[in-house]
Subunit: 457 residues, 2 copies
């Protein structure tokens, strides 16, 4: 019986575990789920005879080593900063490893030893990063195999609320870590390349320099730039590409509204507010507006951000109950971002029967036989319920499939890697299709970069 | 013969040294000027028989110690980060110390030893910090001595070009370190208190939330908020004050124009530009604007920042030659801020016969016998020429005067300190008046905070 060890039994692992449970008999596997909270791990095992839950504190060397020693392959679903010790043990005891996290410098440094031991350390095999790598490389490889030369690559992903659960003016709810949404875009300039020209967007302009896209069957969306687009030149072997842009998808109008918060300064996560615990929502907003002995906070807000009272932007603000003077932030030493997250969570938390949605959209521009062409590749996936979300599914399934592929000798090339080779992405994308995670590719006219964009944004 | 050691003979020390040279005979002093560039130090000595120039590398322990050992008092005019080793030697050899820099944590930590040895370590005794402390505390102390209760304190300082040399549309030239001007306001939120309410201004709004002020004889100015206003509550003993605001003075219109750079993102100093050395000014600006196959950089700039072609803002931009495609940035691995500084230096460097100007303006609101009152205190000082600038004079004179006052036993209270006590500010302000650095105080109606400001800024 082959042994799989999953470290970390957080909410995002539900689909991953469910998939593995179903394969245990047929594949002759035994599954061990290790977590600090053994009850949560037990629940996930669901009394399956081939599954056991163990207490696992990844910082406890003895416990960690003994669990890893007994496994044939290890999946780490912990936050990225906790992978390293487990990874080192995997080298020591010669076990392959699967994670959905970005490859850290320290992880990369294990590459030589991993190769020497013939192990596979597969990282970035969730949804983003993960499915984005695989679905993009499939098209890029096929363009190249046909003799095409890549000119343009744009890639967008978004975790959104499904249309059937979309019932607020922002067309948005928190479907993943709310903190990441509030601080999105901070900590560095958005840098990319367009038609051979480097472009930089500072944070306070990020949500005004969006691009539109149409997704068949779902209407119009917008994307704002991610920080690290240029990294993908070397990752995808696109060193000479003229246009490379990665972004985050939102429903049209979200970014313009979110920009009000950016302009106000309430998304800042770098300092703490005075007496944040006792601040009302109204106090919080007022502390970012000029003092006036007479004007209301509402009036100052509108004047400051130049919003007419019949502008939908204003309705979006009112919907959030921002000016309530009874509701308190209630957090000691909160940053503005933490206070804002508290306010938004009142309104943007998924209800019990709400569904989420993952949207991924790539554009590939290339030249073939002197002709410019473009391919668009799109995937939309809607969650089943609050437990089996689209997010948990699109993260969990590729991790699970990759794990079995390694165990069954379908993925064999050793090293610390990400899923950008045919050996890896072909079988995984094929099985994802069986589970309804399907990319639709279509040829379009070559439109180039940002065809619907405005020069003045 | 008493020995004064000046460490650091930069351009800013011209007036300091000239003042000391004049006093050497009468006060029976000998002056030693130590610098890495001994020629520069020699020039400052000006062949005075009681002055000598020495090579002094402050990081060389032997040289430093031997120079400090021979002195009776030490003046450090080095950048703040180099003071500490000299300060420790001053403790060791029991010498008093004078600097124009902010008190660092490390400097503060020497307080106990400095007191035990009966030494005076006078810091923040330039213009800002320095003359601002002294001129403000004189009024604050007098209000309190009369039984008044402080309600409001606002304080503004600016280093500007003198009206007679003011010949560009920005009404601004670099009169001090240009780098500090380009990155002004970065690295933290501007935080202050107004009528008992904490207020925060993020960097990208800083130059749109200005305040106006009228300076008799010089017209209208504007101020933008400094970052650290709240620190002055404890420094000046104003713990209960309702309004405390410190700012930087510019001519009206500067901030609105500077805001174009902030919005564009070209003041950022946190990352380096790709291939900055070979970038033209035009390339530089274009990299912060959206790509367009047809629109010019000029058009994109105006659209992006919503500037009409007959707006004076546009004339200010054109004046800087920002769209020149031949002039190169010419700096390897430049940050946007460094590139912008290069462009501005072409136009904003003081000409040989240009004069600079220091403007300082305080407002004090207080209550006395149930009545609210306000005092405004203003100092304007214009430089003589490019060598004897107002900046060099207002920094150098207080340092020099404080040094002699300590040497002559007029300032005796030991400890690491700043000039906020009567013992210190009274004699120094009195002598500054002799040199034409004069504050004009006038009572006004109590206007409170930001009486000319707009709620919507």
């Amino acid at each position: 019986m082959r042994q799989i060890l999953v470290i970390g039994a957080g909410k995002s692992t539900s689909v991953l575990i469910a998939y593995l449970l179903e394969k245990l008999e047929k594949e002759n596997l035994f599954l061990t789920i290790g977590d600090l909270e053994i009850e949560q791990a037990k629940k996930l095992c669901n009394n399956h005879p081939r599954c056991k839950a163990i207490y696992l504190d990844v910082s406890d060397k003895d416990i960690r080593e003994s669990a890893i020693k007994q496994a044939d392959i290890v999946i780490s679903m912990l936050p990225a900063r906790f992978h390293l010790e487990a990874a080192k043990d995997c080298v020591k005891f010669k076990k392959s490893l699967v994670t959905a996290s970005y490859v850290s410098k320290e992880m990369k440094a294990l590459d030589k030893e991993v190769k020497e031991n013939g192990l596979v350390f597969m990282n970035e095999i969730g949804v983003d990063p993960g499915i984005d790598h695989m679905s993009a490389m499939r098209v890029i490889d096929s363009i190249r195999d046909n003799g095409g030369k890549m000119l343009l690559f744009e890639s967008f992903t978004g975790g959104l609320v499904a249309p059937e659960s979309d019932n607020n003016l922002w067309n948005y709810k928190f479907t993943w870590n709310p903190r990441n949404v509030v601080v999105a875009g901070q900590g560095g300039v958005a840098e990319f390349i367009q038609e051979g020209k480097y472009k930089y967007i500072p944070y306070h302009r990020l949500f005004r320099r969006t691009e539109f896209m149409h997704i068949d069957g779902y209407g119009k969306f917008e994307g704002y730039a991610n920080r690290n687009s240029l990294d993908y030149r070397s990752i995808y072997g696109l060193e000479d590409i003229l246009t490379l842009y990665r972004g985050t998808i939102r429903r049209v109008g979200f970014s313009r509204a979110w920009n009000m918060f950016v302009q106000l300064g309430v998304t800042d996560d770098t300092y703490v507010l005075q007496d944040s615990k006792n601040m009302s929502y109204r106090d919080f907003i007022n502390s970012f507006l000029p003092y006036s002995p007479t004007a209301t906070v509402e009036l100052k807000f509108r004047l400051n951000l130049k919003i007419d009272q019949d502008d939908i932007m204003w309705d979006k603000i009112v919907e959030l109950d921002l000016f309530n003077d009874e509701k308190k932030i209630g957090i000691e030493n909160a940053t503005p971002a933490q206070a804002l997250q508290k306010i938004l969570s009142d309104k943007w938390t998924l209800a019990e029967d709400d569904k989420d949605m993952i949207v991924m959209h790539h554009k590939f521009g290339y030249e073939l036989n002197g002709e410019k062409k473009q391919i668009e590749s799109t995937m939309v996936h809607i969650g089943k319920n609050q437990n089996q979300t689209a997010m948990a599914k699109t993260v969990g399934l590729p991790v699970a499939i990759a794990t079995l592929s390694i165990l069954n000798g379908k993925i064999t090339t050793p090293g610390v890697q990400i899923p950008i080779t045919k050996e890896v992405y072909e079988p995984i994308l094929k099985e994802l299709e069986v589970h309804g995670i399907i990319f639709t590719e279509k040829e379009t006219d070559y439109l180039g970069y940002n065809p619907f964009g405005e020069v003045g944004n």
